[in-house]
């Protein structure tokens, strides 16, 4: 193992034999992995109490295989559906999905919405880099209006899906959006997401300088981070702005943090109720 890793204070959370990561230089994925490890460390969670589930694409590789926990690296778009089975089977464990925008909000968008509606106690860290990176920079449902991708080489004529807003409306207990330029806020939000009961989403706007940046006049990672900072609008301020003023901006902050009945608890309540009704419960 290169010496650089042994100097990383949170190396104990990683599968050392899998390092170095497959992520490109300048990718935001490392920041997200570090934020997640910091959140786990900050909460003093035993990684044995975690199950990490991911889908397909670059962001699915952020925690899988690098984060040392029970790990299910699944099919494209379906991570949340797999995680639903894991959580129901192991309701006492913390089940975390880390994957990308194309995976979780594109092909898997329906599972995201319905898991939020069900309010099952899963934490989703959705890494939004506006692009299908692994396959070569194609248009994503999150690609900004007007941006260039390999399948919208002239310009994107579609408007991006507002993921955090959608998941908030669907009924999640906790939703927050930050960028990779807001690392401390991101760590705090992941901590809250891991603690809150119910479905939690932390959307992380993240840079892909290789597939998105260089086709959109931001080939340096730092340029992309500056773009995030310049265009980030705190939620409170955004509420006073018109929709057209928010086009191309990133609304950041905590969208919802509320108590709602949680799915696995409701399941257990139902089991108790029904068994009592039929006289199967030992009193």
């Amino acid at each position: 193992m290169p010496e650089i890793y042994s100097k990383y204070p949170l190396i104990k959370y990683l599968r050392k034999e899998a390092l170095p990561t497959a992520l490109c230089p300048g990718c935001g994925g490392g920041t997200v992995l570090n934020a997640f490890a910091n959140a786990v460390d900050g909460l003093k969670l035993d990684p044995r109490e975690l199950v990490v589930v991911s889908g397909i694409g670059c962001s699915a590789w952020i925690a899988s295989p690098y984060f040392l926990a029970d790990t299910l690296h699944t099919t494209h778009g379906r991570a949340i559906a797999f995680a639903t089975g894991v959580k129901v089977g192991l309701p006492d464990k913390k089940v975390v999905v880390i994957s990308g925008d194309g995976d979780l909000a594109g092909i898997g968008g329906n599972h995201l919405i319905h898991a939020a509606r069900r309010n099952i106690d899963i934490t989703v860290i959705l890494v939004n880099n506006f692009i299908y990176g692994m396959t070569g920079g194609q248009l994503a449902p999150t690609t900004p209006f007007g941006a260039k991708t390999t399948t919208s080489p002239y310009r994107n004529i579609e408007h991006p899906l507002q993921i955090s807003e959608t998941v908030s409306a669907a009924g999640a207990s906790y939703v927050a959006r930050w960028t990779t330029a807001h690392v401390y806020q991101l760590i705090e939000s992941i901590k809250k997401a891991l603690t809150v009961k119910g479905f939690s989403l932390v959307e992380v706007i993240s840079q892909c300088p290789v597939q998105f940046g260089r086709r959109n006049r931001m080939k340096e990672p730092a340029e992309m981070l500056r773009w995030f900072l310049r265009n980030s609008v705190p939620l409170a301020k955004a509420k006073k702005m018109k929709p057209e003023e928010l086009e191309g901006r990133f609304v950041i902050g905590e969208f919802v943090n509320r108590e709602r009945p949680e799915f696995t608890e409701e399941l257990n309540r139902l089991i108790d109720e029904v068994q009592e009704h039929f006289g199967l419960k030992e009193v």
Binding site: P47, P65, T75, F82, G85, H111, Q275
Partner: protein, 382 residues
Amino acid sequence: MKYPFPVGKSDFIQGDEAIARAAILAGCRFYAGYPITPASEIFEAMALYMPLVDGVSIQMEDEIGSIAAIIGASWAGTKAMTATSGPGFSLMQENLGYAVMTETPIVVVNMMRGGPSTGQPTFPAQGDMMQAIWGTHGDHMLIVLSPSTVQETFELTIRAFNLAEKYRTPVVILGDAELAHMRERVYIPNPDEIEVVYRKLPANEEEAKLPFGDPHGDGVPPMPIFGKGYRTYVTGLTHDESGHPRTVEPEVHQKLIGRIFRKILGHKDEIISYETFELDDAEIAIVTTGIVSRSAIRAVKMLRERGVKAGLLKLNTIWPFDFGMIEELAERVRKIYVPEMNMGQLYHLVREGANGKAEVELISKIGGEVHTPMEIVKRVVG
């Protein structure tokens, strides 16, 4: 344990209901589903019974989610099942392959209806046989069972769970709309009359480190299920014995897929089950599976009454397939007939098995009606 249905006695129930009860007796405690004709009654029975046996039945947003959830639940250590019909089964194919690749024990029921596409939702068919065997992409091996009566549907469901657990593999049960909705007398045994298998778990830390190894030489690795502190790594990518992705080394892929084939084919004598009727001295053999077998038994009796030495081979397992057994049969009969409710699927397997030793003729019927015995008799006597 109290069961929410009578055990140790007979009941008069639908095939769908029989599957649900068998699954519960086999230890299934997680069901995820999505409504579809003619399999919805399996889901409804599971929704009714599961809370009474400390189990869970949940409705997912689609069939892709259903099979994903049962794979997740299986890694959580729970025996899990989903049930569907053609359109839903098509949606499940990708994750069925994921279950093969990650060696996850699950049971998937497909109560076949006429297809392709929406087809004939309420009518039986046998058009998904090749899909059950070959529907997911890539080289893969799994087990497919095919019952012909409600009693067999019950028994093969228990067997499906046992095979899934024993060989760490997905098992498909291919029923049909007729079996799904037909009511027959079924003996529901007492739990102590049933053999119930649970997957091999790692005996020690060393075994747990190789979730895709072969420590016992039988091709079936112990399963380090989640939540036990093993920090198991599971991926659908080609992986080594530790589970880590190794996608560019041909020998890693060959070894993994080779073992997945070997663990099933190496035990095929135990996995394959069939029944014969009047076959010992037969000159004409009828080979069937599923619902058509019922007409074929009657056809054999009618043919015998007419002096034709006919016999039946009824396959309860359709994959893996015993090509050698068909060749032996072909060597001692004049002709083999394959009645099936499709345009010819089992027929091709039988013809490959017969290897030119006997003529093989397809008796195809589609449209949603089971062959009558006379239709089979007429084809045989000409």
